[in-house]
Amino acid sequence: MSAVLDPHGHGAAGDHSGSHGHGDDHHDHAPTGWRRWVYATNHKDIGTLYLLFSFTMLMIGGLLAMGIRAELFEPGLQLFNPELFNQLTTMHGLIMVFGAIMPAFVGFANWMVPLQIGAPDMAFARMNNFSFWLLIPAALMLVGSFFMPGGAPAAGWTLYAPLTLQMGPSMDAGIFAMHIMGASSIMGSINIIVTILNMRAPGMTLMKMPMFCWTWLITAYLLIAVMPVLAGAITMTLTDRHFGTTFFNPAGGGDPVMYQHIFWFFGHPEVYIMILPAFGIVSQVVPAFARKRLFGYASMVYATSSIAILSFIVWAHHMFTTGMPVTGQLFFMYATMLIAVPTAVKIFNWIATMWQGSMTFETPMLFAVGFIFVFTIGGFTGLILAMAPIDLLLQDTYYVVAHFHYVLVAGSLFAMFAGFYYWSPKWTGVMYNETRGKIHFWSSLISFNVAFFPMHFLGLAGMPRRYADYPMQFADFNAVASIGAFWFGLSQVYFFFWVVLPMLRGRGEPAAQRPWNDADGKGAEGLEWEVPSPAPFHTFEVPPRLDPTATRILDARVQPGH
């Protein structure tokens, strides 16, 4: 079965699913061995590859973060020289953003979008695999840059000119790696857009589509709109470095601040690229465990679109200290603050979904509720940063670091955990261990706050980010943050060895086809629960006939396992 990496092939896990047939038995072409993964054209296999890849990158990026926190545990330099420290910071940011979070969501999309809309696969299966395999050279180049002469890039993940012009050869490796990742994202997005627009089962209208598909559709548009812009910005960096252009060099008429404008035109939508699919996952999980339909479906769609559209006109809130005219600052301040409105709608809708529900708190729900709670803290600090006069004090301090880890770690990452616990029974055919899931949740939630809450204080007190050493007065909160960070890191190690690995090996209670539904049918809805657990290698090879709500299949005959 798809996500089970059992050496005995896919039959073994299938045995667990007892009552269901062997969905893939009659597909003699289901490949085996390494070819199954390297030559994959199956959306489920490619989804698994994406997820494994991004988890690996999370580990590497997390290890770098541990390096940062270890160095900052005490004032003074202990472990790394400042140059290496900057490399750690830069590579941590790049690897987390481009290696861990973005591909993980693509992995979720690969697995779930075709299942949720009743399609047999992604629209372009080979290109899908190409999108994945492009990540490998990119990741090799990024991680390998530590071993190049002069070490890894150390100009921050934002790669501001002209500091990038001083970097060694690894900067070029990094730029090429990001070109490739951009190409991968664009192809992946086109695939998702086409799949969603063109491959929905009859009856699955756009406004009946699960929220996760909606958020990904919008995210995919953001991606194809802004990844090419990033490619342009780093191409200009490349030619400035080697071919004598002067885009960012004032001596020849260029402007370093122009880099920032182009970068953030990409960069701000990018942060919503990392949160919208998370919203989608939460919008699936909350109704399932509240046993109640998602409140305000239509307004959720409109709110998500508004966030996406607004995200194109707020970029310069990252540049309040560059010295814009006051009118510019005001415009970007107002536009940024406006984003709180559609986000408010989303938060309220989730709470209204829970309201008067019949809630249970299995691990997916815990992570979803944790997400709503902690993400909102991050959203509020974002709003405080959006106030230009306050941002003058907080820009490039640890307050910003606290803000974005609240939205990225407790936001994107927690939503992914929720999604993992929610869907992994479908992927692997086995249930995770509930106790372990709960330990993972509480340990992560608490340690996360221990690690990142004190950073607000550090930032308010003025501690700059990307600092290898800091004044003595900041020592205590840094020590607390480091302890929290190690604890958080260990929680993820626990997650991998005690939750993920057993499932990958097919160990655990066999999962029912609808693990989240009561006997009366209340609970999770959607087409992914219409196929057995684990999902057979091929699903929906013939377009299914759907009921009017597009959550049930009427014609069981064509589906395997019935």
Binding site: H29, P31, R36, V38, Y39, T41, N42, P120, D121, A123, R126, N129, F130, W133, L134, I136, P137, L140, M141, P169, D172, A173, F176, A177, H179, I186, I190, N191, I193, V194, N198, M199, I224, A225, M227, P228, V229, A231, G232, T235, M236, T239, H242, G244, T245, T246, F247, P250, A251, G252, G253, G254, D255, V257, M258, H261, I262, H538, E541, P543
Partner: protein, 292 residues
């Protein structure tokens, strides 16, 4: 892409394929080689070359497989629509890419160069008189005087000739399309060759234009804001022309081999869309870079 709609499946999910992973390997060789090459490592260039050969070899097989599937009648109506969506959004992403460079042009021209020559910045660049393109009468070439004097590229005659070439190639392509729809295959192929030829002449003229710029105008990639934007914009455009021309070339070969039908020929249309996109970008270049 082609073949009759009868009996074609609704979906097409290809068999496992080694092409994607192999192509990614080729790209690894290219980027690793290139990163070393531009930093003066001797084997870098060889690795880039190897990577490209490898990549072309893979792409050749990949496209060959697709074409076989298409001609084998595996691509139904739905897949045709998928191709249309994907090509449109791919072109959209290309528009955004060019957008970044046009923005750079606008920013340098209307913002940074004037700002560098303004009274505010007189402390830093006392002698600098900002007049785009930094070479007009009364201007100094660049704030720090690091740029050799150069002359700008005027719209006459080379760029205008090129405009004519590209515009007429759009026309010939449309004629070819109409011919294909009317099932006049001979005419189609003829007009396609005309289109490819026009594209090819465009590239040649542009090559000559660059030669002229470097050797007679002293206009180089390193000629400050003007040189940077001029060469990057026209260069990326030229690269896209070459890609579009290759597409048209292979479509023509396919036409000669009897591929496509009057009703179903998205391969043809996709290439044509791309060609028109390249055309439109050129019109922007022609006005914004050469004229204004």
């Amino acid at each position: 892409m082609s073949s009759s709609a009868q009996g074609t499946p609704n979906y097409y999910v290809p068999q496992p394929s080694r092409h994607p992973a192999f192509a990614a390997f080729g790209l690894l060789a290219i980027i690793f080689g290139a990163a070393n090459w531009i930093n003066g490592v001797t084997w870098g260039r060889a690795l880039v070359l190897f990577g490209f050969l490898w990549l072309f070899w893979v792409l050749f097989q990949w496209f060959r497989d697709s074409i076989r599937e298409s001609e084998g009648g595996l691509y139904g109506r739905k897949i045709d629509i998928s191709f249309r969506w994907s090509m449109s959004w791919f072109i959209f992403s290309e528009v955004m890419f060019f957008g970044a460079f046009f923005t750079a042009l606008w920013w340098m021209r209307s913002h940074s160069v004037p700002a560098l020559g303004s009274v505010d910045n007189a402390v830093l660049w006392p002698g600098f008189k900002a007049v785009w393109p930094s070479i007009a009468p009364g201007a100094t070439a660049s704030p720090a005087n690091i740029i050799e004097p150069f002359q700008t590229m005027t719209p006459f005659w080379l760029p205008t000739i090129n405009t004519a070439l590209l515009l007429s190639s759009g026309v010939t392509l449309t004629i070819a399309h109409h011919a294909l729809r009317a099932n006049h295959r001979g005419m189609t192929v003829l007009w396609m060759w005309a289109t490819v030829l026009l594209g090819f002449s465009f590239v040649c003229v542009q090559g000559y234009e660059y030669f002229h710029a470097y050797h007679e105008l002293n206009l180089k990639l390193s000629s400050g804001a003007y040189g940077s934007t001029f060469f990057m914009l026209t260069g990326f455009h030229g690269f896209h022309v070459i890609v579009g021309m290759l597409m048209l070339f292979f479509i023509t070969i396919r036409l000669m081999r009897g591929h496509f039908t009057p009703e179903r020929h998205f391969g043809f249309e996709g290439a044509a869309w791309y060609w028109h996109f390249v055309d439109v970008v050129w019109l922007f270049l022609y006005t914004l870079v050469y004229w204004l």
